[in-house]
C-alpha cells in the first residue's frame, strides 16, 4: 500500500463515518460533528495529493485547505448560532421535534 | 492517581523533543552558552560512546527540554514566594516568614504539603477526564516555553513557525479547562469553566491581532528572527525595540492586558474568583492535581510574558549599546522579572472586574484598537519611521483613545446599577 492510497483510504473512511453521523444522529450539534469529520476528510485528500501526488509548484493543495479551514470555522459559527436560536424557541436541539411546519 | 499524572507530565515534557533540531556550536564554557551546557555534555557523552545519530539527537533534546523545565520550575517556586511577599508588602503585611529566613523555604513547605495531601476524586466525576485535565493544562505551557529564544545561543527548539506554534498550543488550554470543569461533575467547576473559556476566547483575539504588526514589520514568524529584527539602536542609544514605536507601544500595551487576562490573573481572575465561585474549574481538585493547575498557570504566565518580551521588548537584546558583553539570557530574564513584577503590581492594585465589563472591554475596546494597530504598522513602515511617521501614527492612534475615554467616562459618571439574579 502506498502512502497516497493509505491517506485516501483514511479519508474515505472518515467521510463515511461523518456521513453515518449525519444520517443517524438526531441532535443538531452532533450532526455538525459529522459535518466537520466530512470536511476534514476532504482536507486530508488535498494534503495527500499535494504531498504524494504529481509535483505541485503552485501550492494549490495547501492553499485550498487553508480556505476550507476558514470556511469551516465560519460554517460552525453560523450553524451553532442557528442551533442556539432554534433551541431558544423549542427548548430542544432534537431535529425530530422541529416539526411545527408539519401539515 | 499521583504517579500516572507525574508520568504523563514527563511524557509531555519529553514530547517537546520531537520538535527540536540542532544548532551550530559556539565555545563550550562561554557564559553566553552556560544554559546549553547540559545539552552539550549529553551530546558529547553520547558521541564519545559511539551512539547512533537518532539516540544522540533524542538525548540532546531531552537535555534541552530538561533545562527549560528545571529553570522554569525553579522560577515558579521562587515566584510563588515573591508574589506572596510583594502582595503582603502592598497590603502592609509581612507575608510568609516562618519557613527559613525571610520565608525562603516556603515553596518547599508548600510543595510537601501539596504532595502529601489526599487526592480526592468526586464520585460524580469521570475519573479519566478528571485526571487528564491537569496534565493537559501543563503540557501546552511547557511546549510554549520551548520555542522562546532566551539568549543568543539558547533557543531550546528552533522553529520557523515559532509564533504560530506558540498560539496553536496555547489553544489547548481552553479544552483542558473545559474538561476540568465538566469532568468534576458539579456546579462551580462548570460555571468557572464557562467563564474561563469565554474569557480566553475573547482575549485571544486582541492577543493575536496585536502580534500581527510585529510579524508584518519583521517579515517572519520565527521568534529568533523577530528578535534579530529588533537589533541596533536609534541615535546611538535608543534601542530599536518595537515597543518604542507608536503602533508598537499601543500593540504592546494591548498585548500586556490580553496576556494578563489570558493567564487568568487579577483584575481578570473571574474564572476562579474565590468570593464568587470558590475556585472555578479547580474547585474539585486537591493535592498534586491542584498543584499542577497552579503550575500550569504560572508556567503559562512565564510563557506569555516571554512571548511579549520577544515580540515587543527586543527579546535578549541589551537595552544600551555598550552592554553586549553581558550574556544575553541575563537580559531576557531581567526583562522577564520586570514584566512579572508589573503583573504583581497590577494584581495588588486593581479590583476584580465584573463579567459583562470584562467581555465589553475585550470586544469594544481591545479588538477595535488592536485592529487599528495593523494598518498603522503598515503606515509606519512606509513612512520610514521619521518625524512624519511619528506624527501620523500617533494621530491615528490617539483618535480612538480619545473617543473611548470620553465614552467610558460619560458612562461611568452616572446611573446606579440594578442588580438582578442570573437567569
Amino acid at each position: 500500500m502506498t502512502p497516497l492510497s493509505l491517506l485516501l483510504t483514511l479519508s474515505a473512511l472518515l467521510f463515511s463515518l461523518g456521513l453515518f453521523a449525519v444520517l443517524t444522529r438526531r441532535n443538531a450539534i452532533l450532526i455538525l460533528v459529522g459535518i466537520e469529520l466530512m470536511l476534514n476528510a476532504a482536507n486530508i485528500n488535498f494534503i495527500a495529493f499535494w504531498r504524494y501526488g504529481p509535483p505541485d509548484v503552485d501550492l494549490t493543495g495547501p492553499l485550498f485547505v487553508l480556505f476550507s479551514i476558514a470556511i469551516a470555522a465560519a460554517e460552525a459559527a453560523v450553524g451553532l448560532a442557528i442551533i442556539l436560536m432554534v433551541f431558544r424557541h423549542t427548548r430542544s436541539t432534537d431535529l425530530n421535534r422541529l416539526d411545527s411546519l408539519h401539515g | 492517581m499521583r504517579l500516572p499524572a507525574l508520568i504523563a507530565l514527563w511524557m509531555g515534557a519529553l514530547s517537546t523533543l520531537g520538535w527540536a533540531q540542532t544548532t551550530k556550536a559556539p565555545p563550550l564554557l562561554a557564559p553566553e552558552s552556560w544554559p546549553r551546557l547540559p545539552q552539550r555534555l549529553v551530546e558529547m557523552g553520547l558521541q564519545a560512546a559511539k551512539a547512533p545519530d537518532w539516540l544522540v539527537s533524542i538525548g540532546s533534546f531531552a537535555a534541552a527540554a530538561a533545562t527549560v523545565v528545571a529553570v522554569f520550575l525553579t522560577a515558579f517556586a521562587l515566584l510563588s514566594l515573591i508574589e506572596r511577599k510583594t502582595l503582603a508588602r502592598a497590603q502592609n503585611r509581612i507575608g510568609p516568614n516562618r519557613a527559613g529566613i525571610f520565608g525562603i523555604l516556603q515553596p518547599v513547605a508548600d510543595g510537601i504539603k501539596m504532595l502529601t495531601k489526599e487526592d480526592i476524586v468526586p464520585t460524580k466525576s469521570e475519573w479519566f477526564l478528571h485526571l487528564l485535565a491537569p496534565v493537559l493544562i501543563v503540557i501546552p505551557s511547557i511546549l510554549a516555553l520551548s520555542v522562546i529564544p532566551y539568549g543568543r545561543d539558547w533557543l531550546p527548539v528552533p522553529m520557523e513557525l515559532g509564533m504560530l506554534f506558540f498560539f496553536a498550543v496555547g489553544t489547548m488550554t481552553e479544552i483542558a479547562v473545559f474538561i476540568a470543569g465538566w469532568a468534576s461533575g458539579s456546579k462551580f467547576p462548570m460555571l468557572g469553566a464557562m467563564r474561563a473559556i469565554s474569557q480566553m476566547v475573547s482575549y485571544e483575539l486582541p492577543l493575536i491581532i496585536s502580534a500581527m504588526g510585529v510579524v508584518m514589520l519583521s517579515g517572519t514568524l520565527s521568534l529568533s528572527g523577530i528578535v534579530e529584527a529588533q537589533a541596533g539602536f536609534h541615535l546611538g542609544f535608543i534601542p530599536a525595540w518595537y515597543v518604542l514605536t507608536p503602533w508598537g507601544f499601543v500593540a504592546g500595551f494591548i498585548f500586556l492586558i490580553a496576556a494578563n487576562a489570558e493567564s487568568n490573573r487579577c483584575p481578570f481572575d473571574l474564572p476562579e474568583g474565590e468570593s464568587e465561585i470558590v475556585a472555578g474549574h479547580m474547585t474539585e481538585y486537591s493535592g498534586f492535581k491542584y498543584a499542577l493547575f497552579f503550575m500550569g498557570e504560572y508556567l503559562g504566565l512565564f510563557a506569555i510574558s516571554g512571548l511579549g518580551i520577544t515580540l515587543f521588548l527586543g527579546g535578549w537584546q541589551p537595552p544600551l549599546p555598550g552592554l553586549a558583553c553581558v550574556p544575553s539570557w541575563i537580559w531576557f530574564f531581567g526583562k522577564l522579572a520586570v514584566v512579572i513584577f508589573f503583573f504583581l503590581w497590577v494584581r495588588a492594585t486593581f479590583p476584580r472586574v465584573r463579567i459583562d465589563q470584562l467581555m465589553r472591554f475585550a470586544w469594544l475596546c481591545l479588538i477595535p484598537v488592536s485592529l487599528l494597530t495593523v494598518p498603522v504598522a503598515a503606515i509606519w513602515q512606509y513612512s520610514g519611521g521619521g518625524a512624519l511617521g511619528w506624527l501620523l501614527c500617533s494621530a491615528i492612534l490617539l483618535i480612538p483613545f480619545v473617543i473611548l475615554t470620553v465614552r467610558f467616562n460619560r458612562r461611568m459618571a452616572t446611573s446606579n446599577r440594578r442588580y438582578t439574579f442570573a437567569e
Binding site: 452532533l30 494534503i47 | 513557525l161 504560530l164 469565554s198
Partner: protein, 170 residues
C-alpha cells in the same frame, strides 16, 4: 510511512468514538481529539503551516464552539439515544455502504501504484504568503468578507431577542 500507519488507525478509532458515543460531550471531545490528530498528520507529512492552522482553528475555535453549544443547550436523553440505536443502525449503514464502496473502488483502481515523491515538497511560508496575496487575492478577499459577515450575523443571531437592555457599564 510509519507515522502514517500509526496515526491512521488512531484517527479512525477516535472518529468512530465521536460518531458512536451516546453522551454528546464525549462525542465532542473525541472530535477534538480527531481534529488534533489530523493536525499532527499534516505536521508529519510536511505541511507544517497547514497543520498549525488546523490546530489553532479547529481545536481552538470549532471544537470549543461545539462544546460550548452543548453546555448551553444541555442535551440529555442518552437513554432515548441508546434505545433508538438499533433502529437507525441498519438504514444508516445501508446509506453509507454504497458511498464507502464507491470511494474504495475508486481508490483501488484509480491511484497509481508507486509513490511519486520521496521527500516532502517544500512549502516555505513566504511562498505560501506570496501565493495567497498575489494569485489568490480574490479568494482571500471573499473569505475576508465572508468571515466579517459571519461575525456580524452570528452575533445578531445569538443575541437574545427578548432580553432587557444591558446594564450600563460601570
Amino acid at each position: 510511512m510509519i507515522p502514517l500507519l500509526i496515526l491512521s488507525p488512531l484517527i479512525l478509532l477516535a472518529a468512530l468514538g465521536a460518531v458512536w458515543k451516546a453522551r454528546p460531550v464525549h462525542a465532542a471531545l473525541l472530535l477534538a481529539l480527531v481534529l488534533a490528530m489530523i493536525a499532527v498528520l499534516y505536521l508529519t507529512v510536511g505541511a507544517e503551516f497547514v497543520g498549525l492552522v488546523q490546530f489553532m482553528v479547529y481545536v481552538g475555535a470549532v471544537a470549543i464552539l461545539i462544546v460550548f453549544a452543548l453546555l448551553i443547550t444541555r442535551p440529555g436523553d442518552e437513554a432515548a439515544e441508546l434505545a433508538r440505536r438499533p433502529r437507525s443502525l441498519a438504514p444508516g449503514l445501508a446509506c453509507v455502504a454504497p458511498v464507502l464502496g464507491l470511494l474504495l473502488y475508486a481508490i483501488g483502481t484509480g491511484v497509481p501504484g508507486e509513490a511519486a515523491q520521496d521527500c516532502p515538497p517544500a512549502m516555505p511560508v513566504t511562498a505560501l504568503g506570496l501565493e495567497l496575496f498575489e494569485n489568490a487575492v480574490p479568494a482571500v478577499l471573499a473569505v475576508g468578507v465572508l468571515l466579517t459577515a459571519v461575525l456580524v450575523g452570528a452575533a445578531l443571531f445569538a443575541r437574545d431577542p427578548a432580553s432587557k437592555p444591558q446594564p450600563p457599564i460601570s
